[in-house]
Amino acid sequence: MRLQCPHCGPRGLAEFTYHGDATVQRPVDRGAGSSAAWADYVYLRDNKAGVHQEYWYHQAGCHAWLVVTRHMRSHEVMAVRAAMVRA
């Protein structure tokens, strides 16, 4: 598998590390401690057998976190973008 790093170009899998589902949203911490929303964020995943958005880190490259859209059965990579959205 290869990923098209938006900064470095197409690179082999060995340069990247994986983090997981990129659709989960970190709840706002209002100081109330753990809640169902937090447990969801940290632990629960859709884990669909289809198209998946996921975080990858270009560890041996530019250190960018990427959002990769990839199919879980074919491993086809449909899109790669930088995770960071600058204000």
Binding site: H19, G31, Q59
Partner: protein
């Protein structure tokens, strides 16, 4: 004696005779011979013994699909098991041996299995060997293991080297037969970068085996085409990545083999053309495994490629037109053709014409029912169209049941081959992205006029489907009878297709037999590699000392010169201790600790992760990633920082110094440096991109040395420029300053202490790191300044009760480590919410305590568990475990840190330290984990 070398022809180099041996006997062949062709030329028919029944076996094929003629290749540490004689090229001095036989190939004791074959039907072992239970490991299994297996691994380290390369191309052409050559030519002329890989020594493929001339001269003129011979593309992977191996020196004697043995290639190809040809199917009849039964295409290959007539008198058994080419080939080689047996009721003109031309009788609608002869074919039993049986004398039965496209690579990414009734073969189904298939691999031009003949029944039924694993038609029938009819069940129950050839000749016949005239079932899934690949090749250079890189600190050379012993810390080498005059590690450690506690010592701490953080929002960022607060840290000061994972457990700790208003330097533990960097990037790029902050790892940019001990300030004062004030007032505990050393080198001084003494960490740009220890040693010579290693460092941190790797094990919370007070209540930070879950705040959780032996001498060891004295030693009474332990030279007795249920509240209790795996059992007193200077007066002094 059966085969012989023809006087003329072939692609061998008759000017270069090659002497070699097989089973200790000397033979001669020619350059260009495989072991199979050379032995056949010498009249050898018996090559090996089969896996289960130890039946005598010869050569079936001329290619990678060979199930029978497997040998041990070379000697000593280079001995290689299961090498296919049909593709291995001979060289002068080669020693090859037959395998899976005892005491000799001709007389094999275990061929008794053949007589017991009825007992050893498919799956018999699942039904027996159950009593008594203890006999499985002691009796049955060793017997089975010894009988099974094929060749012997050398059992010695592989002495050869391997290398790996990355190759990029626009078009990868797999297979250098006629189709592959044409595809490569067309692709190269179109202008892209083209790679043409072929598994043999030269291009030409099946055409050469059929005696055709192949013109590939034009290829050489194309500069954008690279031909890689002896290269097998073994697998297809995601994203247009192909795995290949080039055999560089396997065909050479050791003394000529300069450089690596094999080269592993990762090929990145935009497009690929699979032109891998086809593999011929044997016929399934009684004793079809006898030496002398050979694929018709192989017979032609031995004649045309190697100028070897594999026999003197042949029977040809076929069911399609193309195999008729074998008739003129054999006749041209001077072989008599005793009979052409065509399984089809109406034999095609191709067969008739060819047979007529050489005067060979044709029996249409007939079948070979049995091979006669035991150690080799002596005749064929034939059933005529009228049902009448007769026998014909012969020493070769050339068989062709049609061809199977070599479509293996098309299914590596899940593509399912589909059955084509017209050519009675599986053809490629859906293809890997970017791949097309050409020539026979796509089913083109094969199996003209075929009428499938999957099996010729006979009694008793001794017809082999998978030769190497000795799977017979009876086994298939039994599997079906017992409910193992699904393709994968047959495979697993009978071991069909699981041998070194992975069913290349047997699987489709088996499916045909199982279908019994009904629609063909799907194939089992083809998996990489296409042909077996040496594990050494896939590992490349990463073995022995080169298994993983070595990271050296700038002071490494200096430490080496001091006679340091080194230890591994991740990839780093760190000085473990500096023995003097025959000291062992413990004596050295005691001396080094005492020197630091009493005077002064130095220790390289470069390996700690260092991350430079800058930006207007740097403080806000630290607030987010650390559990404790950062808002009030003054410039020129450092602070201990505790980092949690989002699940609330401790991730890492370290210090972070404020070098400027917007500028911080964070340190991490050595082990977690990369992980923390990645985590910070995640926190910033994904979670808090609103913060204006940047950071970079500067671990290798700075050499850092700890200077510790009561005399540390005196040494430091001599090290720095005269005008640099390093007094307690100017540089207090946790103070940070940029200074200039007397040598004119810029440096940073951090007043941090891991040892618990007055201590500094001095950082200089890495290029000065090699000199820094010597400067320090010179500055402290009259204080007896002493280099210390990680042993002493570790002991002093245990004396101080600092958590380190063994405590920061990913299973502990801030409360567990006695750091709960650091958790800020005033801000959002990573891990805050989840650190408040009930289980993480349970007061019964194990907490960090100190231990010291009641008797003052019993050693305590990390990894010991703790029990209440008098309680039974079982899991119900397990109260925790010892995380770190050492002999404390400062206190004069062993000490330990432990995670004990209930934690510090249990100070003063006696606990049993239980270590049955090392026969340890001692009583210890639970004490404060800070053994040394609990008020911290020394480090502040």
């Amino acid at each position: 004696m059966s085969g012989r070398r023809l006087a003329t022809g072939g692609l061998i180099d008759r000017a270069r005779p090659v002497d070699f041996s097989f089973d200790g006997k000397a033979y001669q062949g020619f350059a260009g011979d495989t072991l199979a062709s050379a032995l056949l030329a010498n009249g050898v028919r018996l090559f090996g013994r089969s896996f289960k029944y130890h039946r005598p076996r010869g050569v079936l094929s001329d290619g990678v699909e060979e199930p029978n003629a497997l040998v041990e290749w070379r000697d000593g540490a280079r001995r290689e098991a299961n090498t296919r004689a049909t593709v291995a090229e001979i060289f002068p001095g080669l020693a090859a041996r037959s395998q899976n036989r005892f005491p000799s190939l001709k007389f094999d004791l275990l061929s008794v299995n053949n007589a017991l074959a009825p007992l050893f039907a498919a799956g018999f072992y699942y039904k027996t060997f159950m009593w008594p239970a203890s006999f499985w490991e002691r009796v049955y299994e060793p017997l089975i293991r010894r009988a099974a297996g094929l060749g012997r691994n050398a059992g010695l380290a592989d002495p050869d080297a391997y290398e790996a390369v990355n190759l990029f191309c626009d078009v990868l052409v797999i297979g250098g037969g006629k189709a592959g050559i044409a595809e490569a030519m067309a692709a190269a002329r179109a202008g892209g970068r083209v790679l043409l890989c072929d598994e043999r020594a030269g291009l030409g493929g099946q055409a050469l085996s059929d005696g055709e001339a192949v013109d590939n001269g034009a290829l050489a003129a194309l500069p954008n085409l690279r031909i890689m011979n002896r290269t097998t593309v073994f697998g297809v992977y995601d994203g247009g990545v192909y795995g290949a191996v080039t055999r560089l020196t396997d065909h050479l004697p050791v003394h000529e083999a300069a450089g690596p043995r094999q080269r592993y290639c990762r090929i990145m190809a935009t497009r690929a053309v699979l032109a891998s040809g086809a593999i011929e199917r044997p016929m399934v009849f009684a004793h079809n495994d006898r030496p002398g039964v050979m694929l018709a295409g192989a017979v032609r290959a031995y004649i045309h490629r190697y100028a070897v007539a594999p026999g003197a008198r042949a029977v040809l058994f076929l069911n399609h037109d193309e195999a008729a080419r074998t008739i003129p080939s054999m006749a041209g080689a001077g072989m008599a053709i005793a009979a052409v047996v065509d399984g089809r009721a109406a034999s095609g003109a191709a067969v008739h014409d060819a047979a007529k031309a050489v005067g060979a009788p044709v029996f249409a609608g007939a079948a070979v029912t049995r091979a006669l002869g035991r150690m080799g074919v002596t005749g064929a039993e034939i059933r005529g169209a009228d049902g009448g049986m007769f026998r014909v004398a012969c020493d070769i039965i050339a068989v062709s049941g049609g061809w199977n496209p070599a479509l293996h690579l098309t299914s590596h990414l899940d593509g399912k081959p589909v059955w084509d009734d017209k050519i009675a073969a599986f053809i490629p189904g859906s293809l890997p992205p970017g791949m097309v298939v050409a020539g026979a691999a796509a089913g083109a031009g094969i199996n003209e006029g075929i009428i499938p003949l999957w099996h010729v029944p006979s009694r008793p039924e001794t017809s082999f489907v998978d030769f190497q694993n000795d799977v017979t038609v009876k086994d298939l029938t039994l599997a079906q009878q017992e409910g193992f009819g699904a393709t994968e069940h047959v495979k697993r129950y009978t071991t069909l297709g699981m041998a070194t050839d992975q069913g290349k000749t047997g699987n489709v016949n088996a499916l045909g037999i199982m279908a019994g005239g009904c629609a063909m079932m799907g194939t089992t899934r083809f998996r990489p590699p296409y042909t077996p690949v040496a594990i050494g090749a896939l590992a490349g250079a990463h073995r022995g000392m080169r298994f993983r890189p070595v990271r050296l600190t700038p002071t490494h050379g200096w430490a080496e010169a001091q006679g340091a012993m080194f230890t591994d810390a991740g990839l780093w080498k760190r000085a473990q201790y500096f023995p003097q005059g025959g000291e062992d590690w413990r004596e050295a450690m005691v001396r080094e600790v005492s020197a630091v506690r009493q005077s002064v010592g130095i220790c390289d701490v470069t390996t700690l992760g260092k991350i430079d953080i800058q930006g207007p929002d740097a403080v806000a960022f630290l607030e987010f990633v650390y559990a404790n607060g950062w808002r009030n840290l003054a410039v020129g000061r450092a602070r201990y920082g505790l980092m949690l994972r989002e699940d609330g457990f401790v991730m890492d700790d370290g210090t972070c110094a404020r070098l400027g208003e917007w500028h911080f330097l964070m340190t991490t533990t050595t082990a977690n440096a990369a992980r923390v960097m990645q985590h910070l990037e995640f926190c910033h790029q994904v979670l808090r991109s609103d913060l204006d902050v940047r950071f970079a790892s500067v671990t290798e940019a700075w050499a850092q040395v700890a200077l510790a001990g009561p005399r540390a300030r005196d040494v430091l004062a001599r090290l720095v420029d005269d005008d640099a004030d390093v007094s307690n007032e100017a540089l207090p505990y946790m103070g940070v300053r940029a200074v200039r050393l007397r040598q004119g080198v810029p440096a940073r001084v951090f007043r941090l202490s891991f040892s618990g003494e007055l201590a500094y960490e001095i950082a200089v740009p890495a290029r000065f790191g090699a000199d820094l220890p010597a400067w320090l040693m010179a500055s402290g010579a009259d204080f007896g300044i002493t280099p210390y290693g990680t042993e002493a460092l570790g002991v002093m941190r245990i004396e101080k009760g600092h958590p380190a790797g063994a405590e920061l094990n990913g299973q502990t919370t801030a409360h567990d480590l006695g750091l709960g007070r650091l958790l800020s209540k005033a801000k959002d930070y990573v891990g805050r919410a989840m650190s408040q879950r009930p289980a993480l705040c349970d007061p019964a959780r194990p907490g960090l305590v100190g231990l010291q032996p009641l008797d003052g001498v019993s050693p305590l060891r990390a990894g010991s568990h703790m029990l209440r004295p008098g309680a039974p030693a079982n899991a119900a009474h397990d109260e925790g475990y010892v995380t770190s332990a050492a002999f404390s030279p400062t206190l004069g007795h062993p000490i330990a840190l432990a995670l004990l249920a209930g934690g510090v509240a249990r100070q003063g209790e006696t606990i049993r330290v239980y270590d049955p795996v090392r026969d340890g059992d001692a009583l210890a007193l639970v004490v404060n984990p800070v053994f040394y200077d609990p008020t911290g007066s020394r480090l502040r002094g």
